[in-house]
Structures are given as C-alpha cells and as structure tokens.
C-alpha cells in the first residue's frame, strides 16, 4: 500500500488491500517478530465520539508494535468543548505524535484533518461516512473463511447511516463479489455510495427481505438499526424486528455461511446464533488487532520512506 493516510475505502485498490491483509496474516502468525518494530513512536487516539472496540483495538495494536499511545481524555473536558476547531486540534496533536487515529461525528472530518497535518491519519469513523480500518478487518475475516473471490455477500440492516457498510461495499467492488443489500426502504444505501458502486460497474441487488437471498449467501453482514433513525418508537420496533436473525432463520442458509457483525449488537443477532458454526463476529472483532497492526506498520513505514522528501499531498 503506497498511501499516506487511510481516509476512505474507495482509495484502496485490490493490491493495497491484499498487501495489508498479507501483512496481517504474517503478524497473526508471528506476533513476536513485530513486537518492537516501532518502539519509540507515539500514536494519538483522537476520539471525538465514544468508542470501545475501535479505540481499544488500535490501542492494543499500537502497543503490540512497541508504540506508545496518547489520547484526548474525556472530550467533554478537553479543548474541544471550549470550542476549538478540529483543524486546530489536529495541528496541535500532530506535534505530539507520529500518526493520528481520528473518530469524529461529522462526515468528512478525516479528509479535513489529513489536509492539515503531515503525519499519517487513519479515519476511525466519520459520522455516517466511512470506517475503512473496520473494512480491512472485515475483509481479512472473509478472506480467512472463504477467500475474496467468487463471493456472494449479503449486507443487512442500516445501510443508509452505517459507515462500516459504506466502506465494505466500496472495497468489495475490487473483488469478484456479488453484493445483496437488505434493508427497510427508509434505510437503503445513500446516493453517494450507490453512485460509487455504479461507477465501478459492480453487480448489486437490493431487497427488503433476507429470506429470498439467504440460500445464495457466503457471507451475511448484519448491522444494527438504531432507534434514533426513526421518528417514533413503534415504527422502530416494527421495522427492526424484521431484520433480526436467530438460529432458526439460518436453517435455510448454506452450511458454510459466515455471519458477521461490526458489533456492538443489540438484538439483531439472537444469542442462539453464537452456538452455530455460522457465528464469526467475535473472531472478526479479534482480527481488529493484527489488521490494525498491519495497517499502522504500513503507514508508518510509508511515512518513514517519505520523511525528508517533499510530498505533494
């Protein structure tokens, strides 16, 4: 991967993705070989929004590479609550760290941040925009279970606001994958994501029900439908209820079906699915560490290679 930042999945070619996933596999096979690779480096975890999994897995990935991490503490008590712009905040933090991981509630925040700093920026979620490092770990999980070609993937739930969905759908266009999108009418893919998919000539189909496509799927990627997306609670319960799966739902699925979820789940995957061979979401979450180690390793290596050079960003 010859990238300075990781902002959106649309910037990644198949070669970029496979290079990171190959490295993730190497990391997982021999973590000790990577233990002190970046000793003395500092990673800033800039989370303007709460996060458990993403933040902790970046923290863990960094420490396993010998990198120290710093963070902003509680956003409510930091300079952000005093009205400092994101632009100023990242310009300051750039001086404290060798790379930034940024989670922010506004779409486009990581793009803006990357324009103002010269250290690598990783977008760890920008509003309803993108979450490309999640996509790398999703693809790693798919690759380890099925390979990345001749795939049929169903993506279900909140496709409109789900940033993990937007990134995954874009990245899958680099592979030989049929994509089925399953959601209520009101939560279909946004125009911008649809535009990118059409531009690549990707084969996509949209459905309101899982049942007609379930049998065909190699992967079912489930996302949470959030209550705040609906004007009234009854409507939320009615709609969300139609996109919940349990072990019985999966009886018609292929034996090899892999069920994934970016987590946290609420009730869209019943606990009885955990006991089936389909359940892959905890493995998927654990893959966050080797994949983010591979990503940080790659970006820091790229940054070292261009240090002292004039780089046209």
């Amino acid at each position: 991967m010859r990238q300075d930042h990781l902002i959106t999945a649309t910037q990644l070619s198949r070669d970029d993705i496979e290079a990171v996933l190959d490295r993730a596999r190497a990391v997982a096979d021999d973590p000790a070989a990577y233990a002190d690779r970046h000793a003395g480096r500092v990673l800033a975890l800039c989370f303007f929004e709460p996060s458990t999994r993403t933040r902790m897995s970046f923290d863990s990935a960094a420490k396993r590479l010998g990198i120290d991490t710093i963070d902003m503490g509680d956003v409510d008590s930091s300079s952000v609550s005093k009205g400092e712009s994101l632009t100023d905040t990242v310009r300051v933090i750039e001086g404290y760290a060798d790379a930034l991981v940024l989670r922010h509630p506004s779409e486009g925040a990581a793009t803006l941040a990357a324009e103002h700093v010269s250290v690598p920026v990783v977008n760890a979620g920008d509003g309803a925009g993108q979450h490309p490092s999640q996509t790398l770990l999703d693809l790693h999980t798919i690759r380890e279970n099925h390979g990345l070609d001749d795939l049929t993937v169903g993506i279900m739930g909140d496709l409109k606001y789900g940033r993990t969905v937007h990134s995954l759908a874009a990245a899958l266009t680099e592979f030989d994958a049929n994509q089925h999108f399953i959601s209520p009418e009101s939560l279909r893919l946004p125009r911008s994501v649809r535009f990118d998919l059409h531009e690549t000539g990707a084969q996509i189909r949209e459905h309101e029900e899982l049942e007609p496509v379930l049998e065909e799927l190699d992967v079912l990627y489930v996302t949470r439908i959030q209550k705040e997306r609906f004007p009234d609670e009854n409507e939320y319960h009615r709609v969300a209820g139609e996109y919940q799966i349990d072990a019985e739902t999966l009886e018609d699925a292929s034996d090899d079906l892999t069920v994934m979820h970016p987590l946290p789940r609420v009730d869209e995957i019943a606990p009885d699915v955990d006991e089936t061979d389909h359940a892959t979401y905890f493995e998927q979450a654990h893959n966050g560490v080797p994949v983010r180690m591979a990503l940080l390793d790659t970006l820091l290596e790229n940054a070292e290679a261009t240090e002292g050079m004039e780089v046209d960003r």
Partner: protein, 152 residues
C-alpha cells in the same frame, strides 16, 4: 433575435449572459450576488423564444465582469449559456461556459452533518460529476438543487 423583437435594451458596457435555461435567470443573479442594491443596471428576460433552447432566459448586467468561480458555478445551472462581454455597445468577446473539474468556495454542502458545516476554517470543494456536483469532504451529491446551495 431581430431588433423589433428586443424586449430589453442594449447595454453600453458590461456582460450579457445569454442562452440560460428558462427559469434560471434569478439563480444566475444569485450566483453573481446581485440583488439590485449594488447599483448595477440589470435587465432580465425570462422565457423568451430561442431557436436552440425553445425558451431561454437572458441576463444583462452593466459595468460588471464575471470571475472564474462565478462562471464555473454558472456552467452548472446553465450549461448552454454564452457570456458576451460588451464594450461601447459592441460584443467584443463571446464565450461558451465550460464545466470545471471542481468548484471551490461557492456552494454550501446540503449535508448538515458535513465537516464543512461545522464552523471549521474550510472552503467547500465540490467535484463536478456526470449530472451534478459532489462534496469532496462528505461525498454528498447535489443535482437539480444546485442553485439552492449557492453561497457567494
């Protein structure tokens, strides 16, 4: 158009924006930031007959030149427009608008959750795509409603 069909008078010095899609003349004025208070002489013809467009709008502004960013945005809502520079009643320059690759600092993003709407010191930047423009920051696509988001 022959003289006896003229609905607005010729201007001595200024710009004539011709072949504007019918109904877009007021948006053209909005792009130019003209609301009458600047003191320019402004003539507007709306829905006048046109061989090329069927019906067209025409805008004449005296003693006013267009900047490149104004022409760029104009091209998005009036892709067929011609821009005539007039000096001493003669057309000295006649240009068709061309669609730019991107427009910076002239449109506001319709996505309220876009970082460009969050009090950051940033100019909006939109890529021009097949049938609209697209925010470089949040990827939101703006099509028919471009004129509603002009912010100059």
């Amino acid at each position: 158009m022959s003289d006896h069909e003229l609905r607005v008078s010729k201007i001595r010095d200024g710009t004539v924006i011709d072949h504007v899609e019918g109904g877009q003349a007021l948006n053209v004025l909005a792009i130019l930031g003209i609301d009458g208070s600047e003191g320019y002489g402004v003539s507007v013809g709306m829905n006048v007959p046109s061989d090329r467009l069927g019906r067209k709008d025409i805008v004449k502004v005296e003693e006013r030149e267009l900047s490149q960013s104004e022409v760029d945005v104009l091209s998005l809502i009036a892709p067929e427009a011609t821009i005539n520079i007039v000096r001493d009643f003669e057309v000295v320059e006649k240009n068709r608008v061309t669609r730019p690759d991107s427009v910076t600092g002239v449109l506001s993003c319709p996505n309220r959750n876009c970082i460009t709407n969050a009090d950051e010191p940033v100019d909006t930047r939109f890529d021009v795509v097949a049938d609209g423009v697209r925010c470089d920051y949040c990827s939101t696509i703006l099509r028919a409603d471009i004129a509603d988001h002009i912010d100059v």
